[in-house]
């Protein structure tokens, strides 16, 4: 006791100019800053965050990481991201509390199972662990699951993805901030970007509420607010901002080792290391910047959970919250830059997949910002794919075949 608390990062003086300015102090922005410094020696970087780091989606997601997406462009990126976590834990010397719970998606119809067959085939082709399970095998993984014909939509099978799991999201933000700060990155909290100044059509700097910062490179990593940052340089994004709601129950004895989800019931749940049931998925489909929860969500979530797991009847919920998601039409991100406006980079449109992909997209975006040319991995994620009608096929996941849509 009495040991002096060592700060992991501290306030830095706001300089008049930086080599790169990153708007948004979440997982993506901090990861990009960290990898700019680590891989490219670019330490003259500022991360500017209007609130405090991890205030937005980085601190509001439900911490699930997985790589069982559908399209051949997405899976390699997420798979590499999944393999990066253990490396980061060592490198940052920070316990991100990775729990390899595996990920079980349930199907309740032939359409749902067919969607899973597509996803499993893609995953196996890409050498990502994923397999189809019968209802009985699902019950072996999740013993309290009701696989009888009692629920409105009985379980018909499942897709099991063993490499998936959960982390502690705050620790990811803090660990990356610690790593970036140790390499000389300036983290400015409570600093709002007001405008991006262009000269001869190129990025010249960022106007903030504490003065002008001149810089040749700006990264938009503002999550739910990315359309507004993008509007500062006159680029309209194909994003609509809606909220995702989640909640946790009272702590219970350990009974659920595997994260399970159901697209058709529109619910996912896992038991945190503290024993709470973390559950969510409800999205009200109209754009909003409020982070209010709704009674409709609580009722829906309780119904869906009790249908799938009757033993949870009577469990009390403790906390609920909501976060902003920047949804694109094809459920795939926009990783682009140096194209419409030289010097302006975008790492946005992650919707509700932003957390699992944070460090890996930060690493590729850092390379992109140094080279000025997109790495091969990011080429499919260009903004121009929408006008060229080259959507990524992510929307064909089982989640989108359900009675609710």
């Amino acid at each position: 006791m009495g040991a002096k608390i060592k700060k992991m990062w501290a306030d830095a003086p706001l300089k008049k100019s930086y080599e790169a300015v990153i708007i948004g102090g979440g997982v993506h922005g901090l990861a990009a800053a960290y990898f700019l410094a680590r891989d490219h020696g670019l330490t003259d970087v500022a991360v500017i965050e209007r609130r405090y780091i991890g205030f937005g989606g980085s601190g509001r997601n439900t911490t699930i990481v997985r790589a069982n997406q559908r399209s051949k462009q997405n899976v390699p990126l997420y798979d590499e991201g999944l393999k990066l976590w253990p490396v980061l834990i060592k490198e940052l010397d920070y316990n991100l509390m990775f729990f390899n719970s595996g990920n079980l998606n349930l199907a309740h119809s032939e359409g749902g199972l067919n969607g899973m067959r597509l996803a499993v085939s893609t995953a196996q082709f890409m050498n990502v662990g994923s397999q189809l399970l019968t209802p009985k095998e699902c019950k072996e993984l999740v013993p309290l699951l009701d696989i009888s014909d009692r629920p409105t939509w009985p379980v018909q099978g499942g897709m099991y993805h063993p490499p998936g799991g959960t982390l502690r999201h705050d620790a990811v933000v803090w660990g990356l901030a610690k790593g970036a700060y140790a390499r000389g990155v300036h983290i400015h909290q409570g600093l709002e970007a007001k405008a991006i100044k262009l000269e001869d059509g190129k990025v010249a700097g960022v106007e903030t509420d504490r003065g002008f910062i001149s810089t040749p490179r700006v990264l938009n990593a503002a999550g739910g607010y990315s359309p507004q940052v993008s509007a500062m340089v006159g680029i309209k994004l194909p994003i609509h901002v809606i909220t995702l709601q989640a909640m946790v129950s009272e702590p219970l004895k350990p009974f659920l080792n595997t994260l399970f989800s159901s697209g058709e019931y529109h619910v996912y749940a896992n038991q945190s290391l503290r024993g709470e049931i973390v559950t969510g998925a409800h999205m009200d489909p109209w754009p909003t910047y409020t982070t209010d929860s709704s009674a409709y969500f609580i009722k829906h979530q309780a119904e869906a959970l009790v249908q799938l797991m009757p033993a949870l009847k009577g469990t009390k919920f403790m906390r609920l919250w909501a976060g902003l998601t920047d949804m694109t039409p094809d459920m795939a991100p926009i990783l682009d830059g140096n194209d419409h406006v030289p010097g302006y980079y975008m790492d946005c449109g992650w919707g509700y997949f932003g957390f699992k992909s944070g460090p890996i997209s930060g690493r590729y975006m850092a390379k992109f910002m140094v080279d000025g040319e997109p790495p091969d991995m990011l080429k499919p994620f260009t903004l121009r794919r929408y006008e060229n009608n080259r959507f990524l096929g992510e929307i064909a996941t089982p989640v989108y075949y359900g009675p609710w849509n």
Binding site: Q228, L237, V241, P287, Y289, Y296
Partner: protein
């Protein structure tokens, strides 16, 4: 965050009776001859204001009418129409 939307026929009703129909950007600005950028701008690009947005709604679980209102996306409150005409 439950709130109400005013249907021109049924009056103020619970939000969950309605389907959101997108930002109201008026009539299509071109006929069929448009280049990919114009199509992109019309179909996908959104302004996402944090503030008052004109938008379309559909009274799905009600009278089935499509209509336009203005709503503040930071408070989810409808903007009252002056005089009640339009």
């Amino acid at each position: 965050m439950s709130f109400t939307i005013t249907c021109p026929i049924c009056g103020k009703r619970n939000i969950y009776e309605f389907r959101f129909g997108g930002e109201d950007r008026g009539p299509r600005p071109f006929k069929n001859e448009a280049n990919p950028e114009e199509w992109y701008d019309y179909i996908h690009a959104r302004s996402n204001p944090a503030g008052v947005q004109p938008e379309m709604w559909f009274h799905r679980d009600g009278c089935g009418v499509w209509f336009a209102i203005e709503r503040d996306t930071t408070t989810n409150q409808e903007v009252e129409k002056e005089g009640g005409d339009s």
